[in-house]
Amino acid sequence: MNRTMSLVCGSAQKWTAAITVGALAAASLMGPASAEVGPDDVKIDDGVVAQPIADQPGDAAAGREWASGRKLGNCLACHAISDLSELPFHGEVGPPLDGVADRWSAEELRAILVNSKTVFGDQTIMPAFYRTAGLNKVADDFAGKTILSAQQIEDIIAYLLTLKE
């Protein structure tokens, strides 16, 4: 992680330059791997985001919630997940996520969630969940906001890592 570029505190949505400066100062005292990375600063190299983007480790139970909630990840809109079979209506647009931990590492999953186009290519229908740049005609309520927060991304990764076959 490029710490001089990428440190932010608070939620991604409230990101401002002023906060970044403050976070930079604080982070240099706190040491590595302890601050959130803003959507413009996530480094995706070869389909991998090497470092966590949130300041807390991912919580799999919370991630399970985010993945199923219609207003949040809504992963179920497109993916079937057997572990969530108590919920109705799993989509068929993407592949089932069962066993996804056997196919992808945490670092790869992070890249898929942050911006799936960097892994699957520009044609993919899967939304970028942690990206604000390069979008068009975003509704006012969502302008400048990411679909999920950095912490929610890490939580979902923790949850996906439990999906082994």
Binding site: R70, N74, L76, A77, C78, P88, F89, H90, G91, E92, V93, I125, P127, A128, L135, N136, K137, V138, A139, D140, D141, F142, K145, I147
Partner: protein, 282 residues
């Protein structure tokens, strides 16, 4: 089950499916009041599809059957209101639509199938709502109706019904060519926080379930459509707006140039399908 609700299954058509489709359209035949409609046909030239299907083919049998019987079709209430409006004198002319146009079965037959159409005076293509409002203002001398008003929906449903069973066929060349291209651009343009285009859902994923919804090819041959979710009729542009909102995009304005261009392009993708107005969807 199928027989008891009046749908005729046809196993013969079942074989043709797009490679990406998992849950295919069903193979029911659409017969409304004894009239057979085309809900599946060879795609027009240059199409992304091999076969095009009406959205009716993706709906549940419970929803489908509502469209096959005019007494069951909840959109017919608006059609009744449309007849009333057709015969009611209004505006500075003191005339009704019927006074100038006579029997609607004749004067408005075929109109819906060819819309939007080029209008020399306006210098652009016009949708049915535009044409109605122009006549109300210029000939009847009354106030225009709002795009999504009960009056407009009733009249577009009534006029559309006069083309039921006729194949969609729109002009896309000549002065329409630029509008067609603009509509096509919009169809493939990624928009909204979810960064999707119409094509992502209706071209790449028709036949698939997206959560509880069975994705169709997004055809507009049934509009205005009675949607159970809306508890009423809605226009083509309202549907476009809803789809854009789903992906958290700022929709274009109903009646504006963008949606008119998009309507033209989407209509052209459905050429050959029967007008189903007023269709019923979930």
């Amino acid at each position: 089950m199928k027989k008891s609700i009046g749908l005729i299954g046809s196993a013969a058509i079942a074989a043709i499916v797009a490679a990406s489709a998992v849950a295919d359209p069903d193979d029911n035949n659409l017969v409304i009041e004894g009239q057979s409609l085309v809900s599946e046909t060879t795609a027009p030239e240059g199409s992304a599809f091999e076969i095009i299907y009406s959205g009716w083919r993706f709906r549940s049998p419970e929803t489908q059957v509502l469209e096959t019987d005019d007494f069951e079709n909840p959109g017919m209430v608006a059609v009744e209101y449309g007849y009333e409006l057709w015969e009611t004198a209004a505006g500075s002319s003191g005339k009704s639509c019927a006074d100038c146009h006579g029997a609607i079965e004749e004067s408005m037959s075929g109109l819906r199938a060819g819309l939007p159409k080029w209008d020399e005076a306006a210098g652009k293509p016009l949708s049915l709502e535009h044409l109605i409002n122009r006549s109300i203002k210029e000939h009847q001398g009354a106030d225009a109706w709002k795009w999504e008003s009960a009056e407009m929906l009733a009249m577009t449903a009534l006029i559309g019904l006069q083309s039921r069973g006729m194949p969609l066929d729109v002009q896309t060349d000549g002065p329409m060519a630029d509008w067609y291209e603009r509509g096509k651009e919009l169809y493939y343009a990624r928009v909204g926080q979810l960064d999707m285009a119409c094509a992502n859902c209706h071209e790449d994923n028709w036949g698939n379930m997206i959560r509880a919804d069975h994705l169709s090819q997004g055809q507009i041959n049934g509009f205005p459509t009675y949607r159970l979710k809306w508890q009423g009729l809605g226009s083509i542009h309202r549907r476009f707006k809803g789809c854009m909102k789903q992906i958290r995009a700022t929709p274009y304005k109903p009646g504006g140039d963008e949606f008119t261009a998009l309507e033209l392009y989407v209509a052209s993708r459905g050429e050959g399908l029967s007008v189903e107005t007023p269709a019923v969807r979930q």
